[in-house]
Symmetry: D2
Amino acid sequence: MMVATLVASTALGQQPARHQQVLQLVEEHSAHFSATSKTIWDYAELGYHEEKSSSLLRRELEAAGFRVQSTVADEPTAFVATYGQGEPVIGILGEFDALPGLSQAATPDRSPVVANAPGHACGHNLLGSGAALAAVALKEYMERNHVTGTLRYFGTPAEEGGDGKVYMLRAGLFRDVDVVLQWHPASENVVANGGMLAMNSARFLFHGVAAHAAMAPERGRSALDAVMLMGTGIEYLREHVASNSRIHYIITNGGAAPNVVPDTAELYLYARNPSLPVLAEVWNRILKIGQGAALMTETTLDVKDIGGTANVLPNDALAKVAQRNLEEVGGFRYSAEERHFAEQLQKSLPAGGAGDLDSTALIQPLRRPDPNAAAASTDVGDVSWNIPTIGFETATFVPGVVAHTWQAAASAGMSIGQKGMIVAAKALAITGADLFADRQLVLDAKADFQQQLKGRTYVSAIPVGQIPPLNYRDK
Amino acid sequence: MMVATLVASTALGQQPARHQQVLQLVEEHSAHFSATSKTIWDYAELGYHEEKSSSLLRRELEAAGFRVQSTVADEPTAFVATYGQGEPVIGILGEFDALPGLSQAATPDRSPVVANAPGHACGHNLLGSGAALAAVALKEYMERNHVTGTLRYFGTPAEEGGDGKVYMLRAGLFRDVDVVLQWHPASENVVANGGMLAMNSARFLFHGVAAHAAMAPERGRSALDAVMLMGTGIEYLREHVASNSRIHYIITNGGAAPNVVPDTAELYLYARNPSLPVLAEVWNRILKIGQGAALMTETTLDVKDIGGTANVLPNDALAKVAQRNLEEVGGFRYSAEERHFAEQLQKSLPAGGAGDLDSTALIQPLRRPDPNAAAASTDVGDVSWNIPTIGFETATFVPGVVAHTWQAAASAGMSIGQKGMIVAAKALAITGADLFADRQLVLDAKADFQQQLKGRTYVSAIPVGQIPPLNYRDK
Amino acid sequence: MMVATLVASTALGQQPARHQQVLQLVEEHSAHFSATSKTIWDYAELGYHEEKSSSLLRRELEAAGFRVQSTVADEPTAFVATYGQGEPVIGILGEFDALPGLSQAATPDRSPVVANAPGHACGHNLLGSGAALAAVALKEYMERNHVTGTLRYFGTPAEEGGDGKVYMLRAGLFRDVDVVLQWHPASENVVANGGMLAMNSARFLFHGVAAHAAMAPERGRSALDAVMLMGTGIEYLREHVASNSRIHYIITNGGAAPNVVPDTAELYLYARNPSLPVLAEVWNRILKIGQGAALMTETTLDVKDIGGTANVLPNDALAKVAQRNLEEVGGFRYSAEERHFAEQLQKSLPAGGAGDLDSTALIQPLRRPDPNAAAASTDVGDVSWNIPTIGFETATFVPGVVAHTWQAAASAGMSIGQKGMIVAAKALAITGADLFADRQLVLDAKADFQQQLKGRTYVSAIPVGQIPPLNYRDK
Amino acid sequence: MMVATLVASTALGQQPARHQQVLQLVEEHSAHFSATSKTIWDYAELGYHEEKSSSLLRRELEAAGFRVQSTVADEPTAFVATYGQGEPVIGILGEFDALPGLSQAATPDRSPVVANAPGHACGHNLLGSGAALAAVALKEYMERNHVTGTLRYFGTPAEEGGDGKVYMLRAGLFRDVDVVLQWHPASENVVANGGMLAMNSARFLFHGVAAHAAMAPERGRSALDAVMLMGTGIEYLREHVASNSRIHYIITNGGAAPNVVPDTAELYLYARNPSLPVLAEVWNRILKIGQGAALMTETTLDVKDIGGTANVLPNDALAKVAQRNLEEVGGFRYSAEERHFAEQLQKSLPAGGAGDLDSTALIQPLRRPDPNAAAASTDVGDVSWNIPTIGFETATFVPGVVAHTWQAAASAGMSIGQKGMIVAAKALAITGADLFADRQLVLDAKADFQQQLKGRTYVSAIPVGQIPPLNYRDK
């Protein structure tokens, strides 16, 4: 059986000398970037509207000596910060967008800072800051040791449904990158080697004919009827797609007034599957259902705001290095105060939902993606289909807390989240150092990448030429 | 206010001399054709399988001196019986099919003769026999008085959903007919001048792909899903068609076994509206719903066994004559025994459903069709769009009894039904005599007919070239 | 056949002397109240928010010598203006609320004053002003002629879905009223003697359990599923209610984000039928459908903001007087300019939708309500179940224009609408004068009222104790 | 990585001496029971109607010296055949029912023997005969070697949806059994240690009120509407149950005639999940959906013919023995003729569906049940919750062929199926001999069984007191 591993102190002797130097540099900047993460947590800006958060990170990286390119890929809050030159080119991903309606104080009970306002319930305040911490430390190490190569920090907006990275890929910003490193807040320490669900999304806007619903309903063609029938058609589809698919929707326009046959109505839908080609087939059938609903109701259909992200491709060559490094860094333990906070917060979790508080000190074994596991989606997936990519997850959330909850937002706004962030920054930084030090690692990562693709082609569901949906958070 | 009219005895003096002769002849044959009606009631044969019933009526008409043409229009049980020659050509319609599942003894309580067997719950045993009674009497009158003209009895099978008359029209059997007379059993005495609902029908058979429903439902394409979605689509249509439309369906194939994704499934649907062109639009939308359901489920759709009948066009010129003649004939009164039977039977009617037993003696005033009235459908409609047509309804059913119930079947199998039938035969026969006697009546009927059509064109929903669905009663 | 009637000049000689005086007084105040109607048209305030419109009318009536009671029945914009004392007590109804989204300039083409802003597409600016014009003229007549009796103008807010009059009835404000007179803008001149559809409305708010739609949909209980199933259940209901029923709904909350199982969702529904008791049965079945949807989805249902209005009871005694008086007043003719406006505007109507422009000069014959006619709903209905009520409709809208369209708003904002308003004011005023003059008319109205009720009891669908939904226009 | 294992010849030396004797006895009777399997294949009798098949197996076992108890548990075709006495009591399960509509000749192309007739597409002809072959051989071995203990062959009817074994369990027929051995035809050789899906089934019969669908649909309460809404409700449920659940249904009564509002309609539904308690929760929600549909339509619901089987509990102690023994027996190879047959037949499989023909020679490694694997259901599950149970699957079907297809029926009717059957019989027989020889194995099996249950209680979904649904195959 596979079990989680404590940091083997005996292993420390075997670590490369560069690791110690890099880890030391991360430690030095930790307090500063913890504060940065708190500031962004306070900003809590929604996707494509992360003006202050993006600006803060840009300024930090500029101050540290990076060259910054702003407003890239038609995304006002996207940026690329570069240090060094020549090969290899190593990228680190940063995110900083918040989630609507999840405003929460850094307290162990439900206390919105501002009711219904956004909150950092996915910990992207930590993500962007921790990635910057790793980048700054690694850059100082490179500078001191005259390391050849290019280090790039990608400031990627609107991960939560805005597909920011996809447009950055399209703009060619990743073209010369050899390996991408990333991390994400979680409730355990583990190497993230592939997985997640490929996802497509779109708004299905139907147009009908309005009529007085009491006086002349027979003259109306109801766009809401089309939405209702599309929804019902989707439900009938569920049985006949692979059961690890996920399809979910809301109705974003359900008519204006009961006494008027609605001439517009809209359904906003996501579909997901661990496999990009399987998802493409499912998506095609969803489109047919929309068309069928229009045909049934004599309405017309406009498929809008199409989004899409790929699943994350694993990279076993990089995963091996990442696992070794994460085990070297090791986890962390709560202070008495943090433990008290965590215990209080766990009381709000559903029965059986609380995890072991001591598990923050453990590193989980390396595992392959399970196609039937519960999972979400990320635009890191698209990066991973274009560049060898590896990631970390660290225990920034109190064990048992899941992302997109107020408990996650609370954890991300205090020292527990920040301790997890530092673990991630260390693992990222020493892995980056290894990649700069050992060209064979980069070659192995590329070979493994080609092996994973084996004949499969990356195709984004987002139509060619579509511009970033900067207002996708509007209802 | 309009009120029903008792036979005005003073009016009798004004009736043409020919009427008395014709009425006398009807009386003479009444007992015989009452017996005929009882024999056909016993046969209770379903549409297109009325071998014995059709044969009996053919033999009666042949015996009376008609020339009979059998198995016309590809319908084994259709026939045309003709007497005389030259103009005008007057047709009388006869029907003789029973309804499934409505077997009933001639008793005032629910007593099937054979459980679930067919029964004459629409009184077509009376219809065919009464029409024959009128034809035989009228023929004798013509013969005795050397009346010029042609009298035709149309033996029309499968009125109940088989559209027998439509195929007879297509075969040209009505081509030279000037006026058509018809009648139908009812629970009051009234001239039937237009009305009824145009109706289309079809089986919507979907084809999908079978799969083990537990092992691999994602490989299946469910024809039942298509049926479910088509049904749901129809429900959403209801609000957006004229509210005097009627659409109803059953599922005639809902899958073979729960653990197999159904590769075939079928929905059998009727749609109706008082207006043929409105119905055509509704039908077109129903077809789209079927296509939409197929598109939604990746199945294919086969629209089968398409049926269609028109609404009945009024003819005010004929209606005036018919009303006068029906008032001349007058209604009838129950014997003490019949009254007892009727009172017993009325106890089984829903609260408030019993009608006035004395109303059988009354003639209702002439009325125009109400497009919002409760109504059924008949293939007499198609005849009425091609030839000037007028009809009678007589009180063959105990007042308050509606067609297609066991109470109707009971009434149709005993003297109450037969008394009503004789009233109808008399009204038909004297109206026929009037049409032979007064060419202007025929000309007026034709003029009124053209006026009714005024630019509208009769188009049957039944595809050109479709043969009669002789097995439409199979499930 | 019934045909519309031009003012018979010969009839004018027979009119009571008081009529001439009253008509003269209406004429005198016509220009002033036409201007008032234009001001309210400019205000275009939504139901329960008619602060300026209500205030303007109150001030006018106060200035004319009425005693005004403001903010009655917990409705800030409701008021009662009274003149005189003693019996009989005659009420005149005034409305003044606009409709959302129908802002429109007084031009014959579609030109919103402010996009998506409210507009007077039901002509209530005319309604309230015309009723005030009648009241002021009638009051002056009473004063000059020392007429005994009480005249009351009811300022009734939120007719468009807010049921303002129902709460005023409950507050006892109509308790001593003997007869109610009312009018409504239309596209012809006709006495409105009963009709309209009784209507119930409510918000069906479902509560479920939120969950991450990709990570753990099985933990969610979707309130949106309940809304979808309730909607579908309603569609299945349509076939099995009387076909002159109307049921229509929108979805006012269809979920917050596609990746979250919605824990709240809401459907806002109206149901209507010409018969109050039939509607009560239909409503009961709608409630069952809501409960069934909750049961199916393990959600809970909260039926909120219940509204209800009755159909309008006819009063044949009052209708006779009203018809005579409307014929006496007669219609009106367009100026060349108005005719041009009307012709331009008619171009925007659907094919076949334009009416005869000369018909504004005609008075339609008195007719009884047709239970199958196209109709809307009004809270005048509730008044009519409590007090003998009669109404007028006048040709304020260009013939062929229907209420709740921009064309109606355009007509209501210029001289065509104002000319129609003056016709109505005249008919109201002389009818009021007749009721004050002839006590037998009041007694006849009351006798007819009792006859109409014959054993039926008025029950409002609005729960006892519910306060006016002052924010019902919020989504 | 786990790989399939060829018979290790080196292992043969380690097999107990008794194995050789038992294997020899199986060989001796193989031809005879192969012929028996072919006879039952020809009979192809449906569940609870396996009169000839059951009788043949009973006669064989009686002839071999077993004491036979017929018509047990109210099932005419169930029986128990016993040899020996005392402990331990070892049971072997036999099945013999065919599947509707899958008649097929033993040819590699689709050739029904009789169109739409039943066929042995699940190989139960082999199952019952192979189990009898094992029992007869084992009995002879016991007799010759004076082995103490009781051997029971359970003739279990109607496995395919009739839940025959559940009623036999209830009748106490398994009360003193210590270990149950079973096997099932498949397309590979593998120990079946738990798995399968627990399953509930029922007919949901709705009762409404009939009415003429054109004349008075508002008087009807449609049972078909309830079926449609229940089906739709089920579709909405799918998203919110664990995604390894399976729910599928057909409509067994969808109304009698389109022009009659259906007063009865029926939906026949199966629900499955690998976990019995999870299934119980899902089932409860399905019942609520049925009740909700009845509430929505004012119909009543009768839940009939409730069926239920448990998932199969693993038994690791027995599995270890079974794996060792199956590897000892080894697989088999095709003759040239069989290979040709198999290659021809594989051409009819879907693209990518054909398996490796050489795999019939391999034994698959022991594996634990995967809760997300494709699976079916069996009433062996209920046995396994009451008695320690282990099973085998052998390659009776051409690799790539799945059960319940004509290809499976073809394979089961010729030598390929019979060769697989003999492998199974050998594995069963030597495992039985081991259990008689080594009491510790039985004790270990019982300890493991208790461990598996650990606090869980077996509850069948079939209502207490329900008698076997002998006519469940009627539509």
